[in-house]
Symmetry: C2
Subunit: 401 residues, 2 copies
């Protein structure tokens, strides 16, 4: 059960983007597993990819294609990551691009391939190829929801959102979808996300916009600290609205940030086995990096995560995580620890007024904020994570069976 | 059920050390929880402690006392860590030393206190104080086993070992005990261990010996990556054999290393919820640090650990961990991955001759070696870890209830 997350509300089409999804048989259970996204002429496309050295074949090919041409289509499959598949995997990714290009009458380098699912199995590219005529025939501007369903793996719920923003009397639309539930640790994205807007933004400017909004969203979440081989996030600006914006436009960037943050948080709310949605905020650090280092040490601690699962206000484990986070010259007398607005630790020990009942009542909530004041500087960081539950172990010990 | 670990074999007394254990009521279940170790006059004592900034009160006091005097006694309790307890915790640790010193007629600074258990609860020092007359009356050279039992927390089995080594016709004895099962990640020790020998070794030389043998033993294990607030490892040389040795003596150092390695591995074999004993070896790295970095990234990956629990040869997860370990200029074509002696990955993908059956048959074993050849240099590292099981979650979500 995702934490505080329901099925996507009404999704708005983005002029210049058409989508289709089908079940081509890559997933054994017959669910949607192949998605085609067509991008209209004149659009700009920006993307960021996983930093994992063992990046998947589609990531390698997408990077190459993006550097050489303006994308006209994305071909995406779930159920198989096409990662750790060597030369054969590269060929399969190339073939899926060539067949898509034939179908849509564009160049193969104008197609970006994406895969997500089990690592190390050969990609049955012929299943994608066989589905392409149907996919092309069914391209529609209002197929965002089925596209969101078609990219799911261990996700229990589709993740998608639309926002509109008024710019000088014109309405701009932003719609995005994302998938991701486990192997979630941002070192770029750690999932697949595809976001489109009808704004007009040149390619370089679009890449800057993407990097700006991804940092406090997809790069601020973690389920298990495992960075995937396949992460990718794509932002498309079709330009069909005729309204030009850039990263300096506050209203547009706020709406774009909102779409990215909501999608990133949706991944955590639907994290594998998640029973809690946990915000970890670290204040008064010397730098944002230091604040993040402490936040991630807390968020990755199996002992903190199992205590969250048990709704146990075992703050000693949080304190131990802060203590081992590698912060130089940490003065433990100055560190303060809060659960929501209740101060639990100050001056090196339990806060004088803290009662176990206060901690328990906060821990019983499905959404919890762990706040650490380091007392060292003026920098902050906020990340989102989940607990570590029996269901996480079950999901990940039975994934391939 | 610990993996490949049975109750300690016959433990040999070490001349110059006497021990006693009792149940003073700190553990609610009435089990042994308080241990007194008396060190004879003329002994040398060396110790290393946790690097966690939030180190417990007894760690602070032990460090101070060790710097100012030659220890005559160790007073150890389990069931309460006396960590995150502020000024009151410091006083409790001091009081336990003062009462022990009164009982044994030595100075309070000649007593080192140690605690392990729940963090953040006040230490009921009066229970220790009330037990001291009995403990002092029951000091015996052959009480190593009850001492090992008295320091246990979530351990399911006592951890202790003896070794003897002949030096020029004289027999030296080394006996040690350890505890630890969760919150295990070495950044010094991550557990309690007390080892004694009747060899004669001056204090400075003894500290060097300790640092040498601890690096590939207690500093090469991880259960969950959580560094405890209370870790300590003490090495005592009573000198009663009259035989002088130092860190250059190969035979003695081998025996000492064996005691340390066996105790460290025992902690992993009895790791919380462990169903596998996993050796992670990384070869052909540019430095030992780089090799360790890769080994720990694998050992800490929840996805690798749940695959180990499931006996699933999901090597893609191991590959993904190698890929995100932050190794600079990793050439994935040169990386080779083995389970025991079976090559699974080479040239960026699944090895040509590898079959799932081979991987499955190795994964079914209780003891597994994951071997990674990085193809970058000539340095290696070996660490030991466990899987991540339902029992780990159960143990750590019910610890305080």
């Amino acid at each position: 059960m995702p934490v505080g997350l329901s099925a996507p509300a009404k999704l708005l089409p983005v002029d210049g983007v058409r989508l289709a999804a089908c079940a081509s048989g890559i997933k054994k259970n017959g669910e949607l597993d192949t998605v085609l996204i067509e991008i209209g002429e004149g659009a700009s496309t920006a993307a960021v990819f996983t930093q994992n050295a063992f990046c998947a074949a589609p990531v390698v090919i997408s990077r190459q294609h993006l550097a050489s041409a303006s994308p006209r289509a994305l071909i995406i499959n779930s159920g198989n990551a096409n990662a750790g598949t060597g030369q054969a995997g590269m060929q399969a990714a190339e073939q899926s691009c060539e067949s898509t290009a034939e179908q849509l009458q564009c160049g193969a380098s104008q197609v970006l391939p994406f895969s997500t699912g089990v690592i190390g199995e050969p990609l049955p590219v012929e299943k994608i190829q066989q589905s392409l005529p149907d996919l092309a025939a069914n391209l529609q501007p209002d197929n965002w929801l089925v596209a969101a369903q078609g990219i799911m793996t261990t996700d229990t719920i589709a993740k998608a959102i639309s926002r509109q923003v008024d710019i000088d009397g014109n309405t701009l639309t932003i719609t995005g979808i994302a998938k991701g539930s486990g192997m979630i640790h941002p070192n770029m994205a750690t999932m697949l996300a595809f976001v489109a807007t009808d704004a007009s933004i040149p390619r370089d400017s679009l890449q800057t916009c993407l990097q700006q909004v991804i940092e406090p969203s997809f790069n601020a979440i973690t389920v298990d600290g495992d960075t995937s081989t396949n992460d990718a996030c794509v932002l498309i600006a079709t330009g069909k609205s005729g309204v030009s914006v850039n990263g300096a436009h506050e209203g547009f960037m706020q709406a774009l940030q909102d779409v990215f943050t909501q999608l990133a948080q949706a991944i955590i709310r639907d994290g594998e086995g998640a029973s809690k949605f946990v915000t970890v905020q670290v204040n008064a650090a010397r730098s944002m990096e230091e604040a993040r280092q402490v936040a991630y040490t807390i968020a990755h601690s199996p002992l903190v995560k199992t205590a969250l699962f048990a709704s146990d206000p075992n703050w000693g484990r949080i304190l131990a995580a802060v203590g081992r986070a590698g912060v130089k010259q940490l003065d433990i007398e100055k560190v303060r620890l809060f659960l929501d607005d209740v101060c639990i630790v100050e001056q090196g020990g339990r806060a004088a007024n803290y009662t176990e009942e206060q901690g328990q009542s906060i821990m019983n909530q499905p959404e919890i904020t762990i706040l650490v004041e380091l007392g060292l500087g003026a920098s902050s960081a906020t990340i989102w994570t989940t607990d570590l539950s029996h269901d996480y172990v079950t999901i990940n010990s039975e994934y391939r069976t």
